[in-house]
Amino acid sequence: MNAIGSRQRRVLRWILVLAGVALLAVSLTQPWGVSALPLELAHTAARFRQLLLDGWSAGEPAASITGFPRLRANLLADSLLLVPAYVALLVLCTLVYGPSPQRHPSLRQLLCVPAVVAGLFDIAENSMTGRALDELMRASLTDATVADITLASELKWTMLGVALLVVAWRCRVAVRAPWHAVAAAACALGGVAMAAGAWSALLPAIHVGVGAMLVGLGLLARLALRAPT
């Protein structure tokens, strides 16, 4: 484990605050009991439309819908708050538990790439979902557009899984302590569950993955904040 200076602690605290705000914003912008996740993995235009009307139309009949402002706000909160938060947290954890900056400076940076790429896929997926809404409102939505959203989502979860596995691996290699082992196991479980869930369209598996990620990264953040300077 690399030394954590006071500046990194400050950054970590800010990231945790951002993550908290992001989770709150995403929760507030989605209807109770509804999430945007099924939309991501809809696969077909017909299914996408049905999910939209069932979950995001606020009970309005299709003929009188003038827009989906709540879904747009949700996508915006995800792209501008949640994505930067989880990417920053993953990058920081990778750097803290990653190889020494003196011995492997380039490898240290490269190990952060999956987290950043996952963030890019997430932003692309959110933007394409917004685009799909535009197409649906303006004229018609095609299967090809929805397939793009689904592929972006699958790749996002896969890259997020890889980033979590990298953190788990580095954490296991860097520190041999029980709580670190628990955090590494949670991250590894999260990584595998996310990737498997995305490609099999098994939403519960993705939910398990997200939960494990929250536990793993949360624990690592707490351990990093409590570590001696």
Partner: protein
């Protein structure tokens, strides 16, 4: 090497400037390409569309400032890329191209170059105010406000480049003020690395992240070749790409070799891509449509079908639509839509639609949209597209479907996938930018039953013998022959001096309608030549051929119509018929004579320039010859539908702003009304309304 810059004599300063410009070739070229793209007709219309999207959502259908935000981000990326690379290229000591130690111009030139990227876009946005079509009330504010936004961004970036040392020191990330002072004089100076000094760690970090982000962006745009470029926008895609290309050109092709006493690798790389790899990495081989039948359908007996469907008076319509990118496509579809709306029965007399380039897209789009009018009972697979109000997609006019952005996928394919392909020694089909354009067209017409743009021409005509015949004109690279992509006989019995690319075994027969339209519309640089393999080729038939835009041979599409009419008339036993030829033109030139060109044009590079100029002008002259011949043959039975002067503001290219579309719609209504009057008078046997005369600009 001198440490004093300000006392250098003039010849040395010239030599320094020359060396400096060689070092800066990549950032300068990147900036120039951006400026050329932004200030082209298509570039201005792309900016115009972004402003419309932000200002008048109900017209553009995309109530979003996302395009402008992406452009803001991409111009910042390009600015940072140009500034950072220029700074290293000018201040690092290089054995091969030495420069004096860093002076004020080496400090400030990179900053100014970085400042220039967002500024160029700001000026482009501001000048929309003076251009046609005029900005609407709400758009003026947005154009000027966003221009001010880009100026602000440029100023902020300049401030960052100037004061970044203090800023980074304040954040605890800088190298300290002492690092930026000359040890001897104590004066402020930029950091400079000596020839034998390794590249600093922070610079390496920047390199790694720049490369990683560039490849991530490339990967995203290759994986999502239509949706993502459309979302980001053509201008932003180009700026992001130029930022990445500049870093590669600056550091890999210039910085590294010059530091090792080698020449820049530009020429070597161009030769590698253009000569060495070119033999193995042709990724423009056409692909078959999904589920295309392996056995070609038997050639249809078009002569019998034509004779059986002749109206009692024998008067039938033929359409020729000239090339001109999306302007031609939209104009053609809008005119035909208006003619159909005014008199659907009249359009039942339509027999052949011949198109070139954008005109091919227009006629194919219109025919695909109106297929069910010609064969109402013919079965067609339901569309998988959905609408919001009902599960079935709404019916759209052909021109409305062409309102999509087709230029962004083309630009993304050109700057990312296809550019990367040129440096690989093996072909990767999905990197072909043709697929992005064709896929964009397929999606635009996915709402139609049977998704005709995604299927072969044989499937398009299956169970619908009354459907007018399409003739999509292309040009064969190897011989310059015209190529008619059609279900009409292409064996030489109908078309003169054409290559039969639709023969059995040709991959063209298994291509989708979008693929065939694209052959006709492969205009220079934007689309590459398409390679069409021919199975079982023997004797005179080559194993493959390459196709480019039909406009190289005849940009009017009239020559093919003349051949078809002649072929039908010469067929034994054919009934007598009277063809009325509708010529749809989107350019403003007289029908049968060229406009006199300024004499000065041929005086630039008179030796080599004359060759290029003559070759280019022959292309236009062929079209005039074809139209002039048709005018002699048909006289008043040839109806010239030309875009009115006041509405002739749309650019060439593959995307139209809402304002350009509105202008074309307005012009199409007027032109179609006049054409309808002429057609009806010819059907009634009376004299037609006189053509709208087109005069040459002074």
């Amino acid at each position: 090497m001198s440490q004093q810059n300000d006392a250098r004599p003039l010849p040395h300063a010239w030599a320094d400037a020359l060396r400096g410009s060689v070092r800066l070739m990549s950032p300068l070229a990147s900036l120039l390409v951006l400026i050329a793209l932004i200030y082209s007709e298509q570039g201005r219309d792309v900016l115009r569309a972004l402003v419309s999207d932000a200002a008048i959502p109900q017209k553009s259908g995309d109530n979003s400032v996302a395009g402008l935000v992406f452009l803001l981000a991409s111009s910042a990326a390009l600015s940072l890329s140009v500034w950072y690379s220029s700074r290293w290229l000018l201040t690092a000591q290089m054995v091969a191209l030495p420069l004096p130690a860093a002076g004020p111009w080496q400090t400030w030139l990179p900053r100014v170059l970085g400042f220039a990227a967002p500024l160029a876009i700001a000026i482009g946005l501001a000048t929309l105010y003076w251009r046609k079509p005029a900005l609407e009330e709400g758009e003026v504010f947005h154009a000027l406000a966003w221009a001010a936004g880009f100026v602000t961004l440029a100023a902020l970036l300049l401030l960052f480049y100037w004061q970044r040392g203090r800023l980074l020191d304040g954040l605890g990330l800088g190298s300290g003020p002492e690092r930026r002072r000359d040890a001897a004089s104590g004066a402020s100076r930029p950091s400079q690395i000596a020839t034998d000094e390794p590249t600093p760690q922070p610079t390496r970090r920047v390199m790694i992240w720049a490369v990683a982000l560039s490849f991530a962006m490339a990967g995203l745009l290759i994986l999502f070749p239509v949706t993502l470029p459309r979302m980001i926008g053509a201008a932003a895609v180009a700026a992001f790409a130029l930022a990445s290309i500049n870093l590669f050109g600056s550091f890999v092709l210039t910085y590294v070799p010059l530091r090792r006493a080698l020449p820049p690798l530009w020429i070597g790389v161009i030769l590698l891509a253009g000569v060495v790899f070119a033999g193995w990495n042709d990724n423009h081989v056409v692909q078959a449509a999904d589920g295309a039948p392996t056995a070609s359908a038997a050639a249809p007996d078009v002569y019998d079908a034509f004779a059986e469907a002749l109206p009692e008076d024998g008067k039938v319509l033929f359409v020729a639509s000239e090339g001109g990118g999306i302007r031609a496509a939209y104009w053609t579809a809008a005119v035909l839509d208006d003619l159909h709306a005014a008199d659907p029965a009249l359009m039942q007399r339509l027999r052949v639609l011949s198109g070139v380039s954008g005109g091919s897209l227009g006629v194919a789009a219109w025919l695909a949209t109106h297929r069910s009018d010609y064969c109402p009972g013919a079965p067609a697979a339901p569309s998988t597209a959905v609408g919001l109000r009902s599960a079935a997609p709404p019916a759209l006019a052909a021109a409305t479907a062409l309102a999509s952005d087709f230029v962004a996928p083309a630009v993304a394919g050109m700057f990312y996938g296809d550019l990367m392909q040129r440096f690989l020694p093996f072909a990767i089909g999905p990197l072909d930018r043709s697929r992005a354009i064709e896929s964009a067209w397929q999606r635009a017409f996915e709402h139609l039953p049977g998704e005709p743009f995604a299927h072969t021409l044989d499937e398009f005509y299956a169970d619908c013998p009354a459907l007018p015949q399409l003739v999509l004109n292309a040009t064969r690279v190897e011989t310059g022959e015209r190529v008619a992509l059609t279900r009409l006989p292409t064996d030489g019995s109908m078309f003169v001096n054409t290559f039969d690319a639709m023969r059995a075994g040709s991959a063209a027969r298994r291509q989708s309608l979008a693929g065939l339209v694209h052959h006709s519309a492969r205009f220079p640089a934007v689309s590459p030549a398409g390679t069409v393999p021919i199975e079982g080729a023997t004797g005179d038939v080559p194993p493959s051929l390459r196709l480019v835009d039909g406009g190289y041979f005849d940009n009017s599409g009239v020559q093919s119509v003349l051949d078809v009419i002649d072929g039908l008339r010469r067929h034994p036993g054919m009934k007598d018929f009277t063809p009325l030829l509708i010529v749809i033109r989107n350019g403003r030139e007289p029908l049968d004579r060229p406009c006199p060109h300024a004499q000065g044009v041929s005086r630039v590079f008179p030796e080599s320039g004359s060759i290029v100029l003559a070759l280019a002008n022959v292309r236009g002259s062929h079209a005039i010859t074809a139209r002039g011949t048709a005018r002699r043959q048909f006289g008043a039975d040839m109806i010239d539908v030309v875009v009115p002067e006041e509405e002739a503001v749309a650019p060439l290219g593959w995307a139209l702003s809402a304002a350009s579309r509105a202008a074309l719609d307005k012009g199409a209504q007027r032109a179609a009304a006049q054409a309808l009057a002429s057609i009806r008078s010819r059907l009634a046997g009376s004299a037609p309304a006189p053509d709208v005369g087109v005069t040459c600009p002074r």
